[in-house]
């Protein structure tokens, strides 16, 4: 019964002080909500185990190249040697993302697919929802697929007879043997896993079959054998690599193999960014805690007379403490509930804002453990701060508080609260600087000239299945598509390219220059490999610097030619590269030099690049680029119409503008910058509330002092400046600490910055000035209040 009464009193007291209650609840909610949402993302991506049994024993195999860089791609022969000799591993499986055109069930549809070797599901330890998964016993049988729960839903309406049904995948008759749950996503959000018809996945380019060590084109995973450790596996794979290096020096010299936990390899690229966000949200949570503590301390101080009255009429310390605890818990419950709502929205918002290539995006869900911890942390801080008046109450204080309402003898708590505000300002500045650096970096990244046209450009991938299109058929198909599109006014300026730039993918090749001794691996120069149609350079806006462009006569059967970029031309020194030959396995003549363009990302400087004519070196993965003022829909319609005429079973993917591709290439930095900016805004807001709260409280506590000063002849301006000075002194101390901490921690974000110094003095100074301005504004209202103190009333009140 007593608790209900105390609850009622608590609610009533907050209703009578709605400003305090709203700020405290909002602060708690923002702290709890922000921390929970971000940690849920970090947990889903970085911390939660993969959804497979004994997931910690799953490993991804990789190559350490002769230059020391890590690479995840294997050649057929290397893979088979590792699988045979690597006894510390079991279920070694190869896989490669591949287009999967599904026919035989309604409209032809292209789904994200993976071609794997037989041990793939054995390695993951997947139990199917329906049917079975293919196993090592099915090796090299081909014609067998496992589909995802999502595809089962969408394409088959969850039909129970889906297992055993016949479909065509890339034109090949295939039996669906099983369905796996939506949690199985490796290596991408795949909808179809297709059993390779051989011991390794099919090579996308001509290779030497199972004995080939040149063409590295697929990934591999495995499970640690019983009793084997990661160290055992690495030692064994390194030994295998060394042996192969000696046995096959031309291809394997200096290379070795390694394993890494599968989960870690999925998140390598995003780890630093996510940890940065986690640090940022920790700052916000700390600021929220400091703010709640400050608010509760102030409320406690302001209520000292009331608490003294309660003590005077016989309340024990426990009875007073209980009332305060109930009040604190009411606040915490309201803040916690609001925080959970914010967290729930926040997780949805973060998932929606997150780049679609963020790994394990589907594993993100609201983390109740974090919500609980964040709620407990802020609640504990609020309760402790709220209980301070009881904990500190001493015999003489009750009497004093009854007389002066607790306006004296509070220096320790005021100093503590000042310390909290200093900490809040420092943390806010650290966040602001982090966000400022990221925003500057992003702006500079987006201002980078990629070296090609980005506006009025559309692009669409046009891969064709190798099973239905052999090399010559690929060339014919692409040539026909290009010709028909160029006949249409909407798509007259079209060209073919592999790969589309700024999507982080592509091929590269080692080469030798004619007349120079071949250094062999690993010192051999490497260039980006591009396959293009003759109109590519003009369509994309690359300048011809020297020689000629590609011609329609550069076709199969004619002498092979290549265009190089300026960066690669520098490899020739003062010699003119035009007319010289380079060796890519075969000798190819350089016929022209074009301007540099960025291919991998905006952040990566242009690399040496080779442009080969598609009619001499065709790949089944060409994309189409179109320079046009027409809409994407118009381009899509034209492309679909042409493709349907040529191959009704070939689905056409979404048409996107090059601007969208450029934009998407900065998705990850933009995502973390947006969140950091939001958090830094929040931090500044909370810090401003902290400064305002402290100064307001200070003015209310010093009303009589202000009255005395005014009575003694101080001008209102002098009194106002006194308040302003006090507030700015605290903010200044916070800013100094924040600057020092940000400079010290700058190296932690340096790897995420583009063309921006982690200790850029202009950013530091500008944001420090901005924060001091905000602090001055936060002091303004209390200062105005101090200036308007009526000396007579103030002195009478004393």
């Amino acid at each position: 019964m007593g608790i209900f009464r105390e609850l009622r009193y608590a609610l009533r007291s907050y209703l009578r002080a709605p400003g305090f209650a709203a700020v405290a609840v909002l602060t708690l909610a923002l702290g709890i909500g922000g921390a929970t949402a971000i940690f849920s993302v970090v947990d889903g991506i970085l911390l939660r185990p993969l959804p497979y049994p004994e997931a910690s024993r799953l490993v991804k195999l990789g190559r350490t190249t002769a230059t020391g860089s890590m690479d995840g791609a294997f050649s057929a022969a290397d893979f088979l040697d590792v699988r045979r000799e690597g006894t510390s591993l079991v279920h070694v499986a190869g896989y490669r993302e591949d287009i999967s055109d599904l026919t035989g069930v309604g409209e032809p549809v292209r789904v994200p697919g993976v071609q794997t070797t037989a041990g793939f599901f054995d390695a993951l330890g997947v139990t199917p929802l329906a049917g079975r998964v293919y196993t090592a016993a099915d090796e090299a049988r081909g014609g067998m697929a496992v589909i995802s729960e999502g595809l089962w839903d969408r394409q088959f309406g969850r039909r129970s007879d889906v297992v055993g049904s016949q479909i065509r995948v890339n034109g090949i008759p295939t039996t669906i043997v099983g369905v796996v749950s939506a949690s199985v996503r490796h290596p991408i959000k795949a909808d179809l896993w297709n059993l390779a018809p051989g011991a390794v996945p099919t090579s996308p380019i001509p290779s030497g079959g199972l004995a080939d060590r040149e063409v590295q084109y697929f990934a591999a995973l495995a499970r640690l054998a019983t009793g084997a450790t990661m160290g055992d596996a690495n030692a064994q794979l390194q030994a295998i690599g060394e042996r192969l290096g000696q046995q096959f020096p031309e291809t394997n010299r200096g290379e070795s193999f390694h394993v890494r936990p599968l989960a870690a390899t999925l998140v390598t690229d995003v780890r630093a960014g996510l940890l940065l966000l986690l640090g940022a949200v920790a700052c916000v949570l700390l600021i929220a805690c400091a703010n709640v503590a400050g608010l509760m301390l102030a409320r406690g101080l302001a209520r000292r007379r009331e608490l003294a009255v309660r003590a005077a009429i016989g309340a024990s310390r426990w009875q007073i403490a209980r009332q305060l605890m109930v009040e604190g818990l009411v606040l915490a419950a309201a803040g916690g509930a609001a925080g959970l709502i914010l967290a729930s929205w926040g997780v949805d918002l973060l998932v929606a804002l997150a780049p679609q290539n963020l790994p394990r995006l589907g594993d993100i869900q609201l983390d109740w453990r974090v919500a609980g911890v964040a709620s407990l942390a802020t609640t504990a801080v609020g309760l402790l701060a709220g209980l301070a008046p009881v904990v500190q109450s001493s015999r003489p204080q009750v009497n004093e508080d009854l007389k002066d309402g607790g306006r004296t003898g509070t220096s320790i708590r005021t100093r503590f609260r000042s310390g909290l505000v200093v900490a809040e300002v420092a943390l806010a500045l650290i966040l602001m600087i982090g966000a400022g650096l990221m925003a500057t970096s992003l702006a500079r990244l987006r201002a980078v000239d990629p070296g090609f046209h980005t506006t009025s450009m559309a692009a669409v991938d046009l891969p064709v299945p190798q099973s239905r299109y052999d090399g010559p058929a690929q060339g014919r198909f692409y040539s026909e598509v290009l010709g028909r599109l160029q006949d249409s006014p909407v798509t007259a300026r079209s060209a073919l390219v592999f790969p589309l730039p700024l999507r982080g993918s592509g091929a590269s090749a080692a080469f030798d220059i004619e007349g120079r001794p071949s250094t062999g691996r690993p010192a051999q120069p490497i260039a980006e490999l591009n396959i293009v149609s003759p109109d590519f350079f003009q369509t994309m806006g690359l300048r011809l610097v020297r020689g000629r462009g590609l011609a329609s006569t550069d076709v199969e059967g004619r002498p092979p030619v290549v265009i190089i970029n300026e960066r690669l031309a520098r490899e020739f020194g003062s010699e003119d590269p035009v007319g010289r030959r380079i060796n890519l396995g075969d000798w190819i003549t350089v016929v022209g030099v074009v301007s540099d363009a960025r291919r991998e990302s905006l952040a990566a400087a242009p690399q040496p690049a080779l442009y080969l004519p598609y009619q001499q070196f065709v790949l089944p993965y060409m994309s189409l680029v179109v320079r046009t003022d027409a809409s994407e829909a118009a381009v899509a319609s034209a492309v679909k119409s042409v493709v349907r005429e040529l191959d009704p079973d070939l689905p056409v993917e979404t048409v996107r503008t090059i601007d969208q591709i450029v934009e998407a290439s900065t998705d990850q930095p933009r995502f973390r910058t947006t969140i950091l900016l939001a958090f830094s805004f929040l931090a500044v807001l909370l810090a401003a509330v902290g400064v305002y709260g402290l100064m307001s409280f200070s003015v209310s506590q010093r009303t009589s002092e202000m009255g005395v000063r005014l009575a003694l002849g101080a001008s209102p301006g002098q009194v106002g400046r006194l308040v302003l000075r006090q507030g700015l002194a605290l903010a200044g101390l916070g800013v100094a600490l924040g600057l020092a901490a940000a400079a010290g921690g700058g190296r932690l974000v340096a790897s995420l910055l583009f063309d921006t110094s982690a200790t850029d003095p202009a950013i530091y100074a500008g944001l420090a000035a901005l924060l001091l301005t905000v602090a001055a504004l936060a002091c303004y209202v209390p200062a105005r209040r101090a200036m308007r103190v009526d000396p007579m009333r103030a002195l009478r009140a004393d």
Binding site: R305, A308, A315, L402
Partner: protein
């Protein structure tokens, strides 16, 4: 007053020294005082003479530096915090100069509060609180908040709160200090009525007119009793 009966309050050699940095302030310098059951006593003296300090010690809001304090025959000078709270709740009723009603609570809830701290059952609490409000003529305002009352009304509510628990003694610290003369007189009349009904009252005042209402007035100066006038209020 029954001379043979044990006094309700007995102070022997009560001293109070405040220490601040390098300064010692002797607020009370050996007070001997007895207050009998049913007595109405005024403690008077100029500002700074120690009368509020003495009242704080009498009300167990403060502890003496030296001396003994017997309340109802029990030594109470050095009780623990929780014991002091219990004694305050059951034996002492406070009336403050600035009323000290709790703004978030209604008139009734303010009066009921010490009874809640005592752990009294709800029905009895309600009965006692209503009776106390009736006694001071404020029952019709029981659902109002203190801010909706005049100063005089607030002080009457404070008196109701002080008497609701039927304490052994009422301690009033300048109860008219924040009131105009009319309301001040009304409060003094109320205290006189309570006294006639048997209440023991100890009132601090610096106003000789109000001190004259008491049975006995004790004059303090520099922390000592310098004069006692008996029978002033009779």
């Amino acid at each position: 007053m029954n001379a043979s009966a044990q006094p309700l309050i007995r102070l022997d050699g009560i001293k109070k020294v405040f220490y601040t940095d390098e300064v010692e302030t002797h607020a009370l310098a050996g007070i001997h005082l007895e207050i009998a059951q049913g007595e109405y006593i005024a403690i008077a003296g100029p500002s700074g003479c120690g009368k509020s300090t003495l009242l704080a010690i009498l009300g167990l809001l403060d502890t003496p530096t030296d001396g003994t304090y017997m309340l109802n025959g029990h030594q109470v000078a050095n009780l623990s915090l929780s014991e002091r709270a219990r004694v305050r709740n059951r034996e002492i009723g406070f009336i403050f100069q600035s009323f000290n009603l709790i703004g978030d609570l209604t008139v009734f809830e303010n009066v009921e509060l010490p009874l809640i701290y005592r752990g009294m059952k709800a029905a009895e609490r309600r009965e006692r609180a209503n009776a106390a409000l009736e006694r001071v003529g404020m029952a019709h305002r029981s659902k109002h908040l203190p801010s909706q009352l005049s100063g005089g009304q607030q002080q009457r509510v404070a008196v109701a709160r002080a008497v609701a628990g039927q304490p052994s003694i009422l301690l009033a610290d300048e109860p008219t200090g924040n009131l105009d003369s009319k309301n001040g007189e009304a409060v003094m009349d109320l205290l006189r009525e309570l006294h006639r009904a048997g209440a023991t009252i100890c009132m601090v005042t610096h106003d000789p007119r109000y001190a004259a209402h008491a049975d006995r007035s004790v004059h303090l100066f520099d922390g000592r009793v310098v004069e006692e006038n008996v029978g002033a209020g009779v």
